[in-house]
Point group: C2
């Protein structure tokens, strides 16, 4: 048990230092490690396996919506990047610039893509001629580079992984509809499969994406009360189409501008998963996206019968389509248990000599810590049912946390006092003025998360300036 303690003791507790706890878990659960390249991490097999499950899940959902994948160049010439004014102002300051290719000094330097609206538009200008070519529903899986000053694994790194979807439509109505369809899909994926409750809404003008007409977001809350943007969907209207001159012949044979959207979920969702579900023993991975759903641990490694029974059980479970592995290393059972917990494996299955005699084994739930003795007869069914129970319980636990971390405020003092006492979401009215919002953020560090789709009337006046209120905002402290 000395070894077990060692593994857990290496983690700072959430209460003591949440940020330190977070990086401890990232490293000890072997999700990632620091790299020799400043601001970049190595995503290790266990971390990448979670991301692969996210990719497979979302890719299947996108294909069902008619989206196909493509690959655009990783390097974007500066002359393309500057075409949409607001967009380049947003991204140019954080680009990594290629200035030499081989021995040549480049005249037009190239950005390692920070996002790809510009190259998609450049492509569409070439291939889209008529209404028959629309809609274009495209997506690219890969990574992008943004020169962040402060970095944290999965939350903010100079390279991060994502899909970037880009679509082109015939009318503003169609692009708006698709922007929202994607948002609803994100909501369903994050809630049903990552077990994280979200609040849907629209970003204020201050917070919207550089170059977009409207940005929609799903926001979630971490265990330290801070909020994290977990997915975004942008409607550009024809901002980019005008900048890139993307016109098509409509059914009346008239040349008109197309409309565009873009949207993304990134490897940040792994950061959210860690901070919403994790505890002082480590990670908790929701069964739907867990690379290992069940780990079998034989109790007596020196007992050949025990090892054989455990291996047979492992084979049975795997054959039933459950993602399982078995720990046959020479570590102590206590250490193995601690490792299961650190990696957040939903179910640990312990089997010892006595269990074999009585044709039973012990299932240990990572979400609650409960130990359940079950007969080996229906073990496959038991596990499958339990995985769904765990998935559901993880969502409900997170939902309770969210519900207990939403409050309201009607004055600036109330908003600030409440937020400083306990970081959370606070609902309060706003006048809609960008300058008012910005000054408040600069002063207090509290930012608007979104204009929630479900609007409530908290009061008549703007919580910041007291002028007549335009809408309700969700305020928070963001990652």
């Amino acid at each position: 048990m000395a070894e077990e303690k060692k593994l857990v003791e290496q983690i700072t507790s959430q209460e003591k230092d949440f940020a330190k706890w977070y990086t401890d878990v990232c490293l000890k659960a072997e999700l990632c490690s620091y790299s020799g390249v400043k601001g970049f991490v190595v995503i290790r097999p266990y971390g990448w396996a979670i991301w692969e499950n996210v990719m497979n899940n979302v890719d299947a959902r996108l294909k069902n919506m008619g989206v196909t994948n493509v690959a655009m160049p990783v390097l974007i010439p500066e002359h393309l990047l500057v075409k949409e004014k607001e967009h380049v102002e947003g991204f140019a300051p954080e680009c990594a610039w290629v200035t030499c290719g081989g021995d040549d000094i480049l005249e037009d330097r190239l950005a390692v893509r920070p996002t790809s609206e510009t190259v998609f538009c450049d492509y569409w200008r070439e291939v889209v001629k008529s209404y028959r070519d629309l809609p274009q529903l495209l997506c690219q899986w890969g990574s992008v580079v943004r020169w962040e000053k402060e970095t944290r694994p999965f939350l903010r790194t100079r390279e991060f992984f994502w899909h970037e979807g880009h679509t082109l439509h015939a009318t503003p109505e169609e692009s708006l509809k698709f922007t929202l369809d994607i948002l609803y899909m994100y909501e369903d994926f994050i809630q049903s499969d990552v077990a994280i409750p979200v609040i849907k809404g629209k970003k204020t003008d201050k917070e919207r994406f550089a170059g977009a007409q409207a940005t929609y977001t799903v926001e979630s809350i971490m265990r330290d009360g801070k909020s994290l943007q977990s997915g975004t969907s942008h409607d550009f209207g024809n901002n980019f189409a005008k900048a890139f001159d993307i016109k098509y012949l409509d059914k009346n044979n008239k040349l008109v501008y197309a409309t565009e959207t873009s949207w993304a979920i990134s490897s940040r969702i792994i950061g959210a998963l860690i901070m919403v579900h994790g505890d002082d023993r480590g990670l908790k991975v929701p069964p739907h996206i867990a690379p290992i759903q069940v780990r079998v641990v034989p109790i007596r490694m020196k007992d050949e019968n025990n090892v054989k029974a455990a291996s047979d059980l492992y084979d049975r479970i795997k054959k039933a389509g459950i993602k399982a592995d078995i720990d046959l290393t020479d570590k102590t059972p206590g250490y193995k248990f601690a490792e299961c917990e650190m990696k957040g494996i939903p179910i640990r299955l312990e089997i010892g000599p006595k269990d074999i005699e009585s044709k039973k084994c012990v299932l240990v739930r990572r979400d609650t810590g409960d130990k359940i003795e079950v007969s080996l007869d229906n073990i496959e069914r038991e596990i499958k049912e339990l995985l769904e129970k765990i998935q559901k319980n993880m969502f409900e636990t997170a939902k309770k946390f969210l519900d207990s971390h939403i409050d309201t405020a009607t004055t600036k003092e109330e908003l600030v006092t409440k937020m400083n006492k306990k970081t959370r979401f606070i609902k309060a009215m706003h006048c809609g003025d960008e300058a008012c919002e910005e000054a408040f953020k600069d002063e207090t560090g509290i930012s608007s998360r979104c204009i929630p789709f479900e609007q409530e009337h908290i009061s008549d006046k703007c919580v910041v300036c007291g002028k007549p209120a335009k809408y309700e905002l969700i305020w928070g402290k963001s990652y």
Copy 2:
């Protein structure tokens, strides 16, 4: 039929200009398009879907071999790249260099990864401590950048897609075994699923990978007689382990150097697929990796019953697990047929009013052009059997071509004359001297493809210099 002609007439014939035919097919089959970034292409949905099938197939094979995926930084600092001398000499001249991040000028410039041996080694130095941590069987799917001067879609572009596998082992025997296991896997994939016959062998010292101890390759021949390296596997021994100081504690508690391998198949395989199987009507995609295996074409689009019968048939086929689509556009049947051929869809299924009455339809094979009338009763089974037949026939056709394009030579004159008369593989002996091989390549443009595993004794003397022969080489003109 005017439209049909138009589509096909836009392609140059193979005989007239093979290179032009190749790019025509790339563009007309909508595999890719040129981008606004010099030397980079856009891989369009149909091209990417083929690559996705390659990825899924090979990824499953790798996972069966115990390989797990990871993500290493896309940018590599120059100080890491220069650690292995031969390696940096091979790659530095063709790197794209990032010299500015945001507004900062970088002291240590960063290469957009041309290949990732160095970052993998940097990672292993941190995480590998004992024999318990070995083997490390890792792979990364993504793209790399090499500053090529002349580019051609899929064959040579400044960015290309691949997997790069990197493994670390305890002993030279283990790394050699794994290098070869990968080569055999590549052979099976390329032959069984891409329907391209290959010759396995070892590269000569002159042709081996920069920094490797030995490079193994699978070589294939295109319809113009030129050869293409279709997959490579490198055994580094402990070259990199020494340069990066990667040592582990072995079972006797002694610190020893690990050994390393790396291996790759790239999007070049799509170039091979085009040039091995294609003809003057366009692409032919082998059923095992075809994004669309069957396209249903209703003959009378204005006949509602015809459209409904075609749609029902399409649903039936899809439900049976066959990758199908249906062409319900308002183009003429002739144009639709030509499009099926251009895209290399293995089976075209034509159904008209008469067929519905007689409960039949017409299957058209892309590989042979044969039209087969079949009953609708067992259509799913018929299609599945036919797809396997087509897969097999495509391999056999390519194998016959390969067999008729291998010759032998015993003198320099014979080798050069034969190669100039008809580009092909020529077997001939070599003395093993790097300088001899290099001078001959510079003079004639003929290069050694590999030292084939199946050695034959063609003669006693080196075909170039006449000195005693060391081994048989396969010579060719390469892409």
